[in-house]
Amino acid sequence: MTTQGALAGLRVLDLADELGVYTGKLLADLGADVICVEPPGGSPVRRLPPFYRGQPGAEASLFHWWMNTSKRSVVADLDTGDGRRFLHDLVRSAQVLITSGSPAALARCGLTYQGLAEVNPGLVMTMITPFGLDGALADYAADDLVLLAMGGLMYLAGYPGEHPTAVYGYQSYLAGSLFGAVGTMIAAYEAAESGLGQLVDVSIQEAVAHALESAAQQYDLNGVVRQRTGANQQGAGFGLYPCQDGLVFLAIGLVGGQVEGTWRALTNWLADVPEAEILNDPRWLDGQFRGTADAERTFYEIFSRFTRDKTKRELYRSGQALGVTICPVCTLDDLAHDEQLLARDFFVRVDHPELGASFLYPGAPYRLQRTPWRISHRAPLLGEHTAQLRDELEQEAAR
């Protein structure tokens, strides 16, 4: 049975660099016809490490492998008349175009909304830029580190009394790209009715600022500047604890503060641990008490005595069975073997015919029952579909 994706029939031109490349992946794996339009040397995404067999090359970036699944690739040299004509022909055939990078650099390549809307007034053009198209810092150079710093997330993470640290994994680019996808889809949904396109202006800095939990409101309402908490417990029962094969994360004291049920579950779990009976004292239900240094130290000693000779998996199972919100601090290796992911067939095998090999890719962020997420094919080779697209456009023009 072949099923069409939710976005079947939506053609998307993807001119994004690493800042916005995830937007196109989201749309491609949902069935849109996403075409990477790359310069002759290939998109900068292809230059990001790590590389297959450790060797850099246009087809070897594993970041590119991940970010460009289900897309096609054409080469168009936008410095030439032929390249620009090809782009314009593509634009006439498309509903969406995505760019990312600094606004000035995009304008130098002729990638402005005004220019492309003349070619296709129905076009939704999404521009994912570090600080937005009209921000005071619009022309500042920025990468993930700079955007996590300027967006405020970095200050909240790191070692108290020492330096802040950036979260792993280009999260600012993912945040910008995810908001890019939501904005793009809202505009494309509207355009399907009105026939009219528009510009979607995404600021990555703003996307990061959206991730500050309640820190902005804390400053606005209470005048308090939120500080980083580091690797320490944030009150007894909330944080990292060592176990036999790594770390577990225990999270007693949810947002909203209701702990009675979970604390009782915790003390039941620890019933056989020496000295754990002191945790039955009702003052442990008080968040202020749990936040004292004494309480933290006492709890840490008791709980880590319990966890030290048990595995992450054991603790996860036995704690959750009693209703304790605990989980392992997973490594990539843990994830590759995670029983839940394996039971749900999360990983999908993707063929790389030119390598005579196939690899297990991480799977769907969401499961749409009628129009399933799907990696239709591995990331395209550079320019793999240039001739095919030129033919398609000719046939479309002839009709």
């Binding site: 908490t229 690797a231 994830l335």
Partner: protein, 404 residues
């Protein structure tokens, strides 16, 4: 002007973190998002600080307010058959139903997908369980911070030789899970507009969050080599560092992406002699001497205002930024002031701060249409205008505890 999602109705059972942030962009772009709450069991973020004026109250939380702009709130006691019946009648007039309860909760109310689809065949129905509605861990609980640990992100964030620190927040609640969900919902609406078909969507928050480290996970599957946490460094560029500036806990970041950047930075710093230091001669040398490199650079930055360091680097074309505090973001970032922060007048909280959407549509822009709703503020209005109930009927329900 017509908002782009005008006419879309969402019956929103979500609470806490990830769910309300998934429906916020829909509400801010015109969807009619009705939060189903109950006086007895409100959205728990209503009980979470920060509170306006520091005084707790179900209508005073900034944590709640920012996640629930442009929405309405009704109070239904779902423990009563009449409450569940009213919910069913609302759902029959809705396009999207969404919840982030543990698996089974909606079924206990008779509101699982199968039941809802019989009321409204083209419904788009979203479950957002922690680990999934199927699999060995279906019954397990989780929320933002624990899912960050479970998905691998926590372990990978922090200095290489120390315990990991993660993000210091419930990060998956704020970006990965709500926005993956919103993307799926709008894609499903797009499909429905084309075909008339609704569908069931499951967003297992664990799987959604694993997608936040998926490039590294693929690399591990392919190469057998696992990425490791390395603080602010990336193993490929140097300097790529956070550096101390003048003042208490004041920091900047500088990210040099090539030899030309390095030369420009040395000039901008007024230290052309760094260029001649053999330890820093090329990227390989700089990577091999990162501790010394960062220490040398701090001799420059530590005496300077962090914004001046940023400006000096940027004038030379080098990527740099200030590690901004929330105070900086709100009080001294002109771009965010112009584009992002919005103050709304809330009936109990007064003038208070919200995040505007990080994306702007040029022709049909969304935006914050209303401050967060008071608990149950729209119960009468929704029952009257949407379900056609009379005042007497509503009073009857209220006296029977159905709207409690």
């Amino acid at each position: 002007m017509n908002l782009p999602l005008a006419g879309i109705r969402v019956t929103d059972f979500t609470w806490m973190g990830a769910g309300p942030f998934a429906t916020k962009p829909l509400a801010d772009h015109g969807a009619d998002v009705i939060k189903i709450e109950s006086m007895a069991k409100p959205d728990l973020t209503r009980l979470a600080p920060p509170f306006a004026g520091g005084r707790p109250g179900v209508n005073r939380s900034g944590y709640f307010a920012n996640r629930n702009s442009s929405k309405t709130s009704i109070s239904l006691n779902m423990k009563t058959p009449q409450g569940r019946d009213l919910a069913r009648r609302l759902i029959a007039r809705s396009d999207v139903v969404i919840n982030n309860f543990r698996p089974g909760a909606m079924a206990r109310w008779g509101l699982d997908y199968r039941a809802v689809a019989s009321l409204r065949p083209d419904i788009i129905y979203v479950d957002m369980p922690a680990d999934g509605t199927e699999g060995p861990r279906t019954s397990y609980g989780g929320f933002g911070a624990s899912i960050a640990a479970l998905c691998g992100l926590h372990e990978l964030s922090g200095d290489s030789d120390r315990l990991p620190v993660g993000t210091g927040t419930n990060y998956p609640d704020h970006i990965l899970n709500p926005l993956h969900t919103a993307t799926a919902v709008i894609a499903a609406l797009y499909h429905r507009r084309r075909t008339g078909q609704g569908q069931y969507i499951e967003v297992a928050q664990f799987e959604s969050s694993v997608n936040g480290v998926a490039a590294a996970l693929l690399a591990y599957n392919v190469t057998g080599q696992a990425a490791r946490r390395q603080g602010n460094r990336d193993g490929h560029h140097a300097p790529r560092a956070v550096l101390r500036c003048a003042g208490p806990d004041r920091w900047c970041v500088i990210s040099v992406r090539g030899q030309a950047d390095w030369a420009a930075l040395c000039q901008a710093a007024g230290h052309p002699e760094w260029l001649d230091d053999p330890r820093f001669a090329d990227v390989g040398q700089r990577l091999a001497h990162q501790d010394e490199l960062e220490a040398v650079m701090e001799t420059w930055t530590s005496g300077m205002d962090r914004y001046d360091v940023m400006a000096a680097c940027q004038a030379a074309g080098v990527a740099a930024g200030v590690v901004q505090t929330t105070q900086d973001l709100i009080d001294r970032d002109p771009g965010l002031r112009a584009r992002h922060w919005e103050y709304l007048d809330h009936p109990e909280m007064g003038r208070s701060l919200y995040d505007a959407p990080p994306f702007k549509l040029s022709r049909t822009p969304g935006g914050l249409r209303r401050p967060a709703p008071l608990l149950g503020a729209d119960t009468d209005h929704v029952l009257r205008t949407d379900l056609g109930l009379s005042g007497a009927e509503i009073d009857g329900y209220r006296q029977a505890g159905v709207l409690a």
